[in-house]
């Protein structure tokens, strides 16, 4: 009875919170179209028109070594600590392009899973990542 009552309190609090999370939804189902993947030309277009925010999922050392200009760094392993620092100015409707070093890009997929759990709706994966961006000679920020 106590467990049931506690569970109901938790569910009610989740419903009333600013960022409720879905209860009965799998967190890791990238094959179900929860985000789309885009290639370098479309990524560059988004970069040029400034329509999306870039999220770099690599670790901070790699990020500080060079990243897509204006990207923010949310490493997979420190997501829980770092995400709250940005969540205030990251509306869940904002288009986010997540990248890491390059294929298979597991870090990006993990960050996408987290972002989706946090309610972000417009998520895009750039599988080519930093390797493709740098090879193309596009702008770099350090």
């Amino acid at each position: 009875m106590l467990v049931l009552f506690g569970s109901l309190i938790g569910i009610a609090a989740n419903g009333l919170s600013r960022e409720p999370i879905p209860m009965l939804r799998s967190l890791r189902d990238s094959d179900k179209g929860e985000w789309r993947e885009i290639a370098l030309p479309e990524v560059k277009k988004c970069f040029d028109d400034g329509s999306s925010l870039f999220v770099d999922a690599r670790d901070p050392n790699e990020f500080h070594g060079g990243h897509i200009p204006a990207a923010i760094n949310i490493p997979t392993k420190e997501f829980a600590e770092i995400y709250p620092q940005y969540s205030g100015f990251l509306p869940t409707e904002m288009p986010l392009i997540v990248y890491c070093q390059g294929d298979p890009c597991e870090e990006s997929r993990d960050v996408l899973v987290h972002l989706r759990a946090f309610g972000h709706k417009d998520l895009v994966l750039f599988p080519g990542g930093w390797t493709e961006w740098q090879a193309a000679g596009y702008p770099v920020e350090k």
Binding site: M1, L2, V3, F5, G6, S7, L8, I9, G10, I11, A12, A13, N14, S17, E19, P20, I21, P22, M23, L24, R25, S26, L27, R28, K77, F79, A80, E81, Y83, P84, V113, H114, A117, F118, G119
Partner: protein
């Protein structure tokens, strides 16, 4: 008297832990995910339900209400947390504990394990005491007589 102090201390800590987590389920989901212990489809339900159970168990323990049930849940919760902490240490994970929400930035480690183990030890007198002082259960029993 020892059981009373233990009840207040453990109940208070568990209640505070639940209250500090319940307002931000999305952050809790991130913390739980970092432990890499639960299947991903159970992360969100755990993040939503656990704080509520902590609040109820902590409050009941503090008030001495439904003590048998609340001490059982409190013990189970602490054992669960100890297991998760041991797992994280064994895996070499350098992650946020999330023991009191995400605002304290406390890392998982032996200090956290020792604190939770102390809470578990404090529950021993609560298990072996028949008549509890300042307990709602006792007061309700007197009212019924």
């Amino acid at each position: 008297m020892l059981a009373l102090c233990a009840r207040f201390l453990v109940g208070g800590v568990i209640l505070y832990a639940g209250l500090s987590k319940i307002g931000d389920p999305s952050a809790m989901a991130g913390v739980i995910e970092n432990y890499r212990l639960l299947p991903t489809n159970l992360v969100n339900p755990a993040a939503v339900i656990l704080p509520g159970i902590e609040i109820v168990a902590g409050f009941c323990l503090l008030e001495g209400f439904l003590i048998r049930g609340s001490r059982l849940i409190a013990t189970a919760l602490i054992l669960l947390f100890l297991g998760a902490i041991l797992w994280a240490i064994a895996q070499g994970l350098d992650i946020e504990c999330g023991c009191f929400g995400t605002s304290d930035a406390e890392r998982v480690g032996w200090a956290v394990f020792a604190r939770d183990f102390l809470l578990l030890l404090l529950l021993v007198p609560v298990w072996f005491t028949e008549k509890h002082l300042f307990a709602l259960d006792e007061w309700l029993a007197k009212q019924r007589k």
